[in-house]
């Protein structure tokens, strides 16, 4: 009996302690799940840098609430690990919001969890259209593959490109990109001469180059994961004389700012369509780059940076509006418009996905001789996610 009483007393103290802390300060916790170790660690680093830039520019407080970010390492594509991290964050760390997510399977794995626990989750990257359909608590200020691929096809057609070969890496996003490009290009009247799905592990692209050259198209549209495949493809593209033959390179995220330097002059002149270039010409972006340089000297701003920066903005606006009363958070930001380092953007009230401009860029050298993605055309303004069936 005595023991029972003591246990009860202890439990009471704990409850009181919790209640006390909740009332005393209005700290709202956000769990950020991303790879911080392994081959994809650069993503976590880019995310964290960008969130820190946002905090440095806007302070630790969103309205009356102090925001605290808790980072968790998911490693690479790892759905089950991501799910248990999310569970741990919600149950043990008592976070009210989640953020991060580089890979589609990781984002999908938490959908049932956040739906049940009613945890608003802001996706900083994962770009497969379907994700936002899987839970009402997903908000995605990053981009989707359809969103950037369709404008690429439209721009190509407008330039007088009539024939194309599609070469994509054979996995989910690559297949999405192929379908998006083909559908748009053929609807406009263009002809797809060949579509090649290249194995994910390949870094020897010589055989594919030969096949593309034999078809002699006006352009080759590619989708490749950033890193070794993009690097090796661009090298092959030059060394096999495709550039010389006049086959134009069309892509989306292959010219990522963190690997652009590695490509060197081989990348000059390559054309891609994307929602963000580190060299975007606006005061907002210059301010972003300035703070980034202070926080992490030498770091490049890329899609991950802008995704996390806008993700932090969305989180701040939700917290400012509703604090820990998270069930109302998503409604509070639906339709919200703001100025991002990438340009003017807003959140689609129906899909909770970002509406943004898609820019056509070509790789060029800036005044310091550094390679950048120079934006020179906007094919379409305010593009929603075009990959979601209505």
């Amino acid at each position: 009996m005595k023991k029972l009483l003591r246990t009860l007393a202890a439990a009471g103290t704990i409850v009181l302690a919790f209640a006390g802390s909740a009332a005393a300060d209005h700290t709202v916790k956000v769990g950020v799940i991303a790879p911080f170790s392994g081959p994809f660690a650069i993503w976590g680093k880019q995310f964290k840098n960008a969130v820190e830039v946002y905090v440095a520019q806007n302070g630790k407080k969103a309205g009356t609430h102090t925001v605290e970010f808790i980072y968790k390492d998911s490693g690479g594509p790892n759905p089950s690990g991501t799910k248990s991290l999310a569970q741990e964050l919600i149950v043990r760390d008592k976070v009210d919001y989640l953020g991060g997510f580089v890979f589609t399977p990781n984002a999908l794995s938490v959908a049932p969890l956040i739906q049940k626990a009613k945890v608003p989750t802001v996706i900083f990257n994962a770009a497969t259209s379907i994700i936002v359909k899987k839970s009402d608590y997903f908000v995605r200020p990053s981009f989707s593959l359809w969103q950037v691929t369709v404008p690429m096809a439209e721009w190509a057609w407008k330039q007088g490109i009539k024939t194309a070969v599609i070469a994509v890496t054979d996995y989910g996003p690559g297949n999405d990109a192929e379908v998006a490009f083909r559908t748009t290009f053929e609807k406009l009247g263009g002809k797809v001469l060949d579509a090649i799905r290249m194995p994910l592990s390949t870094t020897d692209f010589g055989p594919f180059m030969q096949r593309i050259k034999d078809k002699n198209p006006n352009a080759v549209f590619v989708f490749l994961p950033a890193g070794p495949p993009s690097f090796a493809f661009v090298k092959s593209y030059n060394e096999n004389g495709m550039k010389a033959q006049g086959i134009q390179f069309l892509g989306t995220g292959e010219m990522d700012e963190t690997t652009l330097d590695a490509l060197g002059d081989a990348a000059l002149g390559l054309t891609t369509a994307y929602h963000y270039s580190g060299a975007h010409d606006s005061d907002k972006n210059r301010a972003f780059l300035k703070t980034l340089e202070e926080i992490s000297p030498g770091a490049a701003a890329n899609l991950a940076s802008v995704g996390a920066y806008d993700g932090a903005h969305v989180l701040y606006q939700m917290i400012k509006a509703v604090g820990s009363d998270r069930t109302k958070a998503v409604a509070a930001v639906k339709g919200m418009a703001w100025e991002s380092p990438r340009g003017p953007v807003s959140l689609d009230p129906d899909t909770r996905h970002i509406i943004q401009n898609v820019y056509i860029r070509r790789v060029a050298k800036d005044e310091n001789g550094k390679l950048i993605n120079q934006e020179f055309d906007i094919i379409r303004k305010a593009v929603p996610d075009l990959g979601l069936p209505n």
Binding site: M198, P199, P207, P228, A232
Partner: protein, 286 residues
């Protein structure tokens, strides 16, 4: 039939790169009989050194390659004297665990010093241009790799089969105690051979970097490739590795020409067939 000549040319040049990066493993694992999973690690160290020398220190490609290979050989010598002399006496499983541990250390070191993004090696302008062979164009550096591969194979064959060093090495590998009692300095022979294997790994890593780009996770990404080439070729047979690499290169390339959607499956089917029919590899000694 341009397709067949295309397959042969691309296949041989890809096979030669496979040979270049796995021949060192054929020396350490095949001849010396240590399961050296750190082989890719030495290739990574060579590539990372060449990256640093060509892009940051500003040296030329040839000098950088020589310096990078030399420094990897020195590192390998130090590791051999301090760690591998103990690893030689381990059982096979212990060797696997020990050398994979060394690989992780190498990955983490490169990651810490140079980051996890791609580490490009700047090659001379001359090598990054396409070269016109009349009926088709080919990247010049592939031609260089083919020539370097042939020279390496010839030099190794000469070293192992035609010199006193080769005789002593083969004696030491066949029966270390007997060789030692005949007055052969087996400790020295082992150190030199191990260092040679690591140097070849570095050389292959640098030359193959255009096709298998160097980054901190290089050893894990391509470890299977090296092991397959050595296993299919037969342990301890330089000629076996050579023919296995060329054959696998041609098979993989043909699959990519004809049925790209099946990915690399033919590469592994070929491996399984060879190992089923000849468990010791194409030219392996039983």
């Amino acid at each position: 039939m341009p397709a067949i000549s295309g397959i042969l040319i691309d296949g041989v040049s890809y096979g030669m790169i496979l040979f270049m990066i796995s021949v060192g493993l054929s020396v350490t694992m095949g001849l010396m009989r240590i399961i050296n999973l750190a082989h890719g690690g030495f290739a990574l160290l060579g590539g990372a050194a060449a990256h640093w020398l060509t892009t940051i220190a500003g040296f030329g490609f040839v000098i950088s390659t020589i310096l990078a290979v030399a420094s990897v050989m020195i590192i390998a010598m130090v590791l051999e004297r301090s760690l591998y002399t103990r690893i030689y006496r381990f059982t096979e499983l212990q060797q696997v665990l020990a050398t994979i541990g060394i690989t992780f250390l190498m990955i983490a070191s490169v990651n810490l010093l140079l980051g996890s993004t791609i580490l490009p090696i700047r090659v001379p302008e001359l090598l990054s241009r396409p070269i016109d062979l009349g009926f088709r164009t080919l990247p010049t550096h592939r031609l260089m790799v083919v020539i370097a591969g042939l020279l390496t194979a010839a030099a190794l064959y000469y070293l192992l089969e035609r010199t006193w060093f080769g005789v002593r090495l083969r004696a030491a590998v066949d029966n270390r105690n007997m060789a030692a009692s005949l007055g052969i300095n087996t400790v020295k022979i082992y150190a030199i051979t191990f260092s040679l294997g690591a140097g070849l790994a570095a050389f292959g890593g640098i030359l193959g970097a255009e096709l298998l780009p160097i980054d901190a996770y290089y050893p894990l990404r391509y470890m299977v490739l090296f092991l397959v080439v050595v296993a299919v070729g037969g342990m301890g047979s330089i000629a076996g590795s050579f023919f296995a690499a060329i054959a696998l290169g041609i098979i993989d390339t043909a699959a990519r020409y004809i049925v790209p959607e099946y990915g690399t499956i033919f590469f592994f089917v070929a491996m399984m067939l060879v190992l089923t029919l000849r468990p010791n590899g194409m030219l392996g000694r039983t």
